[in-house]
């Protein structure tokens, strides 16, 4: 009797504030929407609700993706896209990380660069495509430059903000322990801000993917975006969708890679994650 009433009081309810969902249920619920999505899609195609020429079935898309990799050297396009994103992103990071940390650490550096950097943030990078094409032709440079411009100013600002939020007491502690300016920068500010630098990089890499696809669709003969534009000419919607799918998978993989490196590089933070 007492048991029954206790069970009533503590029965598990589906919609409850501040109550976590068990891990197994999370996976089931997360997969559910995908299953419904693909199910509806497949049904719509097989029942002829939509024009099969414009909307291939999900099974066709997967089959095409396999064919692209196996027979049409799609791997080369994917490789070029990855190389572009990694190359330009690295260059942007090499400049943005030290600059952002210095701007966040020293007010003079901030006063010098911030008016310039923050003004650029309001110029959408794709606006530079025409001029980049005129300057650099149709080679790799305009694509790399677009990605670079799209990433560097936001990344710098994000890192600057994180750096200026490093707790004053940590820096003052190091000062009263006899730390010199550069020692404190290297042994307090940099390690304190590094996890946030990695998070900022993760966020900006997602945006870099957007610019990559824009660049490849507008002005490229290679890469995933270019493949999709080629497919459009021949009404190969299954190839376009395969391209979209692979971009999604790659974006997700890079995100997971960043989360994994966060855990490996900063074990002292624990496994909270987001």
């Amino acid at each position: 009797m007492a048991d029954a009433s206790r069970q009533r009081a503590y029965r598990s309810r589906w919609f409850e504030f501040l109550t976590p969902v068990p891990r197994g249920w999370r996976l089931v619920l997360g997969a559910l929407v995908w299953i419904v999505f693909f199910g509806l899609w497949e049904t719509a195609v097989s029942r002829g609700w939509v024009n099969a020429l414009l909307v291939p079935s999900p099974v066709d898309v997967v089959a095409t993706l396999y064919e692209l990799f196996a027979e049409r050297s799609f791997l080369g396009d994917v490789g070029i896209s990855i190389a572009r994103i990694v190359g330009s992103f690295l260059v942007a990071c090499i400049i943005a990380i030290p600059l952002g940390i210095l701007m966040g650490s020293f007010k003079t550096v901030e006063a010098l660069f911030n008016p310039f950097v923050s003004a650029w943030r309001y110029l959408p990078a794709p606006a530079f495509i025409p001029i980049l094409l005129m300057w650099f032709g149709t080679g790799e440079l305009p694509k790399l430059a677009l990605l670079f411009l799209g990433v560097i100013f936001f990344l710098t600002t994000l890192i600057m903000d994180h750096t200026s939020q490093v707790r004053t007491e940590l820096i003052e502690t190091a000062m009263t322990l006899g730390g010199k300016r550069w020692q404190i920068l290297w042994t307090v500010v940099v390690p304190a801000v590094l996890p946030n630098v990695l998070t900022s990089m993760r966020q900006m890499l997602a945006i870099a993917w957007t610019y990559l696809v824009i660049a490849e669709i507008i002005a490229s003969t290679t890469g995933i975006g270019a493949m999709m534009m080629r497919a459009r000419r021949f009404l190969n919607t299954d190839e376009i969708m395969a391209g979209i799918l692979i971009i999604g998978v790659l974006g997700l993989s890079f995100d997971l890679l960043f989360r994994w490196s966060q855990r490996v590089l900063f074990p002292y933070l624990g496994q909270e994650g987001d």
């Binding site: 940590l170 003052e172 190091a174 009263t176 006899g178 020692q183 042994t187 074990p267 002292y268």
Partner: protein
């Protein structure tokens, strides 16, 4: 000489008059004012004079807003006085330095370093050789009772343990004076008095000069060889108090302290000061 009262030191402070003539830390007519945006100037601290002697625990006590933390930060070199002069061992203080290590109220453990590495950190900055660094860190970690946690990251430590790391880290760096800004203010009541007692043992063992800021009267009486009571508007030393009922001894346990004759009189006296000086009616 315009030094504050109480030159009739109790004999416990040592027979030698020379000690009093050559203070460890001296604040001479120290003042600080702030400029407000609309041109007004606020005098936060004015004419602060006091000395701290070698191996003495000196407590800055007073109501909130009396500027005691600002005084401590000026000793640390983290803030500049507008007027007056601060000297340590006769040398003027012109910025932060290893000889004036500070423990803050907020937790300052470096999350990315283990307890051992945290305590070694200051010595690393000052290029102490590796072997000596390790031994000194081990000694001070043991002194604060954290040997079992030497390899642990601060994330796993309680608030009191983090403060013990901060104390060990500062002392291992061999400062000439230890500065503490409400070091136990963020801790719960029980941890607080445990830390006060631990602190007492450490001060005895490490034989160091300490300047502590607190607004906790019991803590002040327990720790202090000398109390500088500050009042507000502007902040200045209102009264120098020697808890002479302790007869120059350091009491290791709080119940023993509270049981001593004279304790409650002093506590009552300071409470009255707090009431007078902390009330906003005294503000002009």
């Amino acid at each position: 000489m315009n030094r504050p009262m109480n030159d009739d030191m109790p004999s416990a402070a040592g027979p030698s008059r020379d000690v009093a003539e050559a203070p460890k830390l001296r604040l001479n007519e120290v003042g600080k004012s702030f400029h407000l945006p609309h041109g007004e100037t606020i005098e936060a601290i004015a004419n602060v004079n006091f000395d701290t002697r070698e191996n003495e625990v000196c407590v800055l006590l007073g109501p909130s807003g009396c500027g005691k933390s600002t005084v401590l930060r000026m000793v640390a070199g983290l803030e500049q006085p507008t007027t007056g002069e601060l000297t340590l061992d006769g040398e003027p203080i012109v910025g932060p330095g290893q000889e004036r290590g500070m423990v803050f109220q907020a937790y300052t453990s470096f999350d990315w370093l283990t307890v051992q590495q945290n305590v070694e950190y200051g010595m690393r900055l000052n290029h102490v050789p590796k072997q000596e660094r390790r031994e000194r860190a081990e000694h001070f970690i043991e002194l604060v009772g954290l040997s079992r946690f030497a390899g642990t990251y601060p994330r796993h430590l309680s608030g009191g343990m983090k403060q013990r790391v901060a104390i060990a880290r500062t002392l291992a760096n061999a400062p000439s004076i230890l500065l503490m800004d409400e070091p136990f203010g963020a801790l719960d009541a029980q941890t607080r008095w445990q830390m006060q007692e631990l602190m007492m043992g450490i001060v005895e063992a490490a034989n160091t000069t300490v300047l502590v800021v607190t607004h906790d009267i019991e803590e002040a009486i327990f720790l202090a060889d000398r109390i500088e009571f500050m009042s507000r508007h502007p902040g200045r030393v209102h009264e120098e108090i020697i808890p002479s009922f302790k007869q120059g001894r350091r009491i290791g346990q709080k119940e023993e302290l509270i049981g001593l004759p004279g304790y409650s009189d002093l506590e009552r006296h300071i409470l009255q000061l707090m009431r007078e000086q902390g009330s906003d009616e005294t503000t002009p």
